[in-house]
Amino acid sequence: MGRGQRYGIALSAFVAFAVGVVTALSLLLGDNPALFGEQPGSAQLAGLLALPADVLLRLATIVVALSIVIGIANLLTVHVGRLARGKAYSAVMLASFGFTVFWYVARQGDTSLLEAVQVPIESALAALLCLSLLHGGSRVLGKRADIWGLLFVAVVVLVLLGSLPLAELAPVQAWRDWLMRVPVGAGARALLLGIALGTVVTGVRALLGQDRSFRG
């Protein structure tokens, strides 16, 4: 690695660190006049401190929006290249793209293609997931014949039975409600805690330069 490349790495790491610290401080201190007491001008100071985070985050939003346009352009480029190599599916994709644009423009904003094509296809794919889950659920004990596999199957059957709208299954429904409220609720809260901790750790790693995903 040359010296210039090393300088480039150091510079990009410094820029990321500086932007991260400025944003974090701005979010922590900005728009919070109570931090500065009941003094004249504290509100203006708090507003001023909030400005860097506001500007930087809005810039990030614009970049994300622009990346969608770049993504579309990249998709078209890739499929044009694949079409040149004789890939038929790419031809279908490019034709569909062109037809959708033509339909929208020629029919003055008609978006019925979404309901006629996209929604049925994606809904059908989601329905296929049910079949896969069913297949997986039917062979749990074939893959894991232990107490945990048995417990998993029992819980799945209990929850499914409890969701049936049959009056004869009222006791099962009470068990199912308990399962959904207590263990599942606890799991949901644990997930929230885990996500929060993971977010903090990721942020700290990025600020410390250990996670440098910004270099692509």
Partner: protein
């Protein structure tokens, strides 16, 4: 920090990790995390793969594993292998493994792994029951190694003669049960759409169950909006969840339109905005007259797409004035809102837990008395329910198709009475609740004014008219709540012309226990003092306990010999409670605090809304023009499909468990 990638160190680290993994594999369970004792004798090594007999037999054609080079584009492993700017130690295990694959595949497959391919593909071993693994009698760790080797050595050879195209596996009898299970599921799901003879299961009730106050509060809040209100509706679901959430979204929009309020539709999913527009077009198609059509820019607004997920939602929360000025087509909307707090309500229709979390974190975390009405799909329901149980600013969740059906029934019932040709009952007053609906945490809600909180107990009392018995309230359902406590006997309807309620007054000089059930072993919810008056809901079977209603809408029980039954007017009831609170002994403040703590600890802090003050909005045609379509067959198909799924899961796992037991017995016998 080591920026250069050192292949020598890399190979050493791979070897070290392999040794560590091997060492850990012999220490299973919690033993892996315990320190290794010094001088412990090592386990005898298992026969390695290299000691297997070398067989030179012709290979069989196998499933192809197309090499990355045939597609002309590098694989993910190759791309990762080319990355050098991150130290190897920073990579997690999965990325390191993926990178390791790129290292191995750059070498000729059979150079370092000579003879393995022949062993794995020999027809003798392949013809054994269970394949090569059972024939070689390998350990579990070795089986995994064999699978890995099978993946590695399968690459270059299988692309020969096939042009890189994957071959379809031959049909096997083992696929029959799988096909049968899928066929059964598809068949039973289709049955309700073919014939009404297969209508299994009960339809969802016409009212939300009283154990679920969230959906009822959700409905009441939307039913209390008026023509001056603006509702922010967040469409956070794509076409994948359309089958689950479209019905609910359409009902919510119809409800808002029927109240003559204006929805502002926004989303961080660009397709969802277009989909919302199509739903409104569907509503327009169901309306007969052209003058009743809903117009964009007047009756509703589609706001611009919010890019960046959580970042976009933060912008909506912080810079609402900018977001609301631009429509989905990039045109000015003409709306002049300064802040998100100017929205009367915020309704979220979300398919994923992540969308719910983003909205709660980015929108509700900002200062302001915001409230989020949440509807979700089944996948996001647990998380949304956890939020709703914890935060009074989250109302709901209304979940999936079954709740949508109930919501539609409530709408049809309440708005159907507003039709011009509907029979009008002149004595029927507005629907009221028999319970006190003011939440114990309403002080946290800025929109609930003090006047509303003060008035609520009086307005919540049962009306003395014969046409409005307590059982006619919208909170009452036909299904009794699943509680172990005996249900109170029916409360006699008030017959006096003056508004009176049946109440009990504490006569004991000592404090009395108020319990969760009508026994002395039930949990104590709080204490009552001499002179306290509680509304009576009923009694137990022998009349020894009164079922009473505590402030905050909590039902409790109090022993009959400690109180005296009275019939009081609403004003006396409210005054009695106020004077009792004012005359409370000094120690009572502590006890009341304890009481509130108990309540908040033992039950969710859900939000309870004021009941609707009118039967419906100004445009009932928007509700009643809805085509029910295949709503009922869909629900019945869900029921049958669930039954079929239970059957398949139970049957399949029984077969597998029996087969496993037979194998174990056979192995023990041999």
């Amino acid at each position: 920090m080591d920026e250069e990638f050192n292949w020598l160190k890399y190979s050493e680290s791979i070897e070290a990790s392999a040794q560590e993994e091997e060492a850990q594999s012999s220490r299973r369970g919690l033993r892996r995390f315990l320190p290794r004792l010094p001088g412990r004798p090592s386990l005898p090594s298992r026969p390695s793969l290299a000691r297997l007999p070398r067989l030179r037999l012709p290979s069989l054609p196998r499933l192809s594993r197309r090499p990355a080079s045939t597609s002309g584009q590098p694989s993910a492993a190759e791309l990762l292998g080319g990355q050098q700017e991150r130290p190897l130690d920073d990579l997690d295990d999965r990325l390191r493994a993926l990178r390791g694959r790129s290292v191995v595949t750059t070498q000729p497959a059979n150079q370092a792994l000579y003879d393995v391919d022949d062993i794995l593909t020999s027809p003798e071993l392949q013809s054994k029951p269970g394949g090569v693994i059972s024939a070689a009698a390998l350990s579990k760790a070795q089986q995994q190694q064999v699978e890995m080797l099978r993946d590695i050595v399968g690459g270059p050879e299988q692309s020969q003669g096939t042009g890189g195209r994957r071959e379809l596996p031959a049909f096997s009898l083992s696929a029959v049960p799988r096909l049968l299970g899928r066929a059964l599921l598809v068949l039973v799901v289709c049955l309700p759409f073919v014939s009404s003879d297969y209508a299994e299961g009960e339809l969802p009730p016409a009212e939300f169950h009283e154990d679920r106050p969230g959906p009822t509060a959700f409905y009441n809040l939307l039913d209390n909006i008026s023509g001056d209100d603006t509702i922010l509706v967040a469409f956070e679901y794509g076409p994948t969840a359309a089958g689950e959430l479209d019905l609910l979204a359409e009902l919510l929009l119809r409800h808002i339109f029927a109240q003559r309020a204006r929805p502002l539709i926004v989303s961080s999913n660009p397709i969802a905005i277009v989909h919302a527009q199509n739903i409104i077009r569907g509503i327009n198609r169901s309306l007969a007259g052209a003058d009743a059509q809903l117009l964009h820019g007047e009756d509703y607004f589609l706001l611009r797409y919010l890019p960046g997920g959580a970042l976009g939602l933060r912008e909506l929360s912080q810079n609402f004035a900018d977001v609301v000025r631009i429509s989905a087509k990039g045109l000015p909307t003409g709306l002049e809102f300064e802040a998100l707090d100017e929205m009367t309500e915020i309704v979220l229709i979300a398919e994923s837990a992540e969308a719910v979390r983003n909205w709660v974190e980015q929108v509700l975390s900002a200062p302001g008395g915001r409230r989020l009405l949440v509807t979700t799909g089944y996948a996001a329901q647990p998380l949304a329910q956890a939020y709703a149980d914890s935060m009074t600013s989250i109302v709901g969740p209304v979940t999936g198709i079954r709740d949508a059906f109930t919501y539609g029934e409530k709408l049809a019932k309440n708005f159907g009475a507003l039709l011009p040709n509907a029979p009008i009952d002149p004595e029927a007053g507005p629907e009221v609740l028999p319970v006190n609906v003011v939440s114990d945490s309403q002080a946290e809600l800025p929109r609930a004014t003090e006047a509303q909180i003060e008035v609520a107990p009086a307005t919540a009392l049962p009306q003395p008219t014969a046409t409005a018995p307590p059982t006619a309230s919208p909170f009452m359902t036909a299904t009794p709540p699943p509680t172990e406590t005996p249900l109170p006997t029916d409360t006699p309807a008030p017959t006096a012309t003056e508004a009176t309620i049946r109440a009990v007054e504490v006569i004991s000089e000592q404090s009395v226990n108020i319990r969760r059930g009508p026994t002395t072993v039930d949990e104590i919810l709080g204490l009552g003092y001499q002179g306290d008056i509680f509304e009576v809901l009923g009694t137990n079977g022998d009349g020894s306990w009164y079922n009473i209603l505590l402030p905050g809408g909590v039902r409790a029980w109090i022993a009959a010999f400690l109180v005296e039954e009275r019939v009081v007017t609403a004003s006396e009831f409210a005054g009695g409670q106020a004077s009792a609170s004012a005359d409370a002994p000094p120690e009572r403040a502590v006890l009341q605090l304890d009481f509130s703590l108990r309540l908040s600890k033992n039950r969710p802090r859900f939000y309870q809304a004021q009941p609707p003050t009118s039967g419906g909005g100004d445009r009932p045609e928007l509700i009643l023009s809805r085509d029910r379509g295949l709503e009922v067959p869909r629900l019945q198909a869900m029921t049958l499909g669930t039954l079929a799924a239970i059957l398949v899961i139970v049957f399949g796992n029984t077969i597998y468990a029996a087969r496993g037991l037979m194998r174990r017995r056979n192995s023990q016998g041999s």
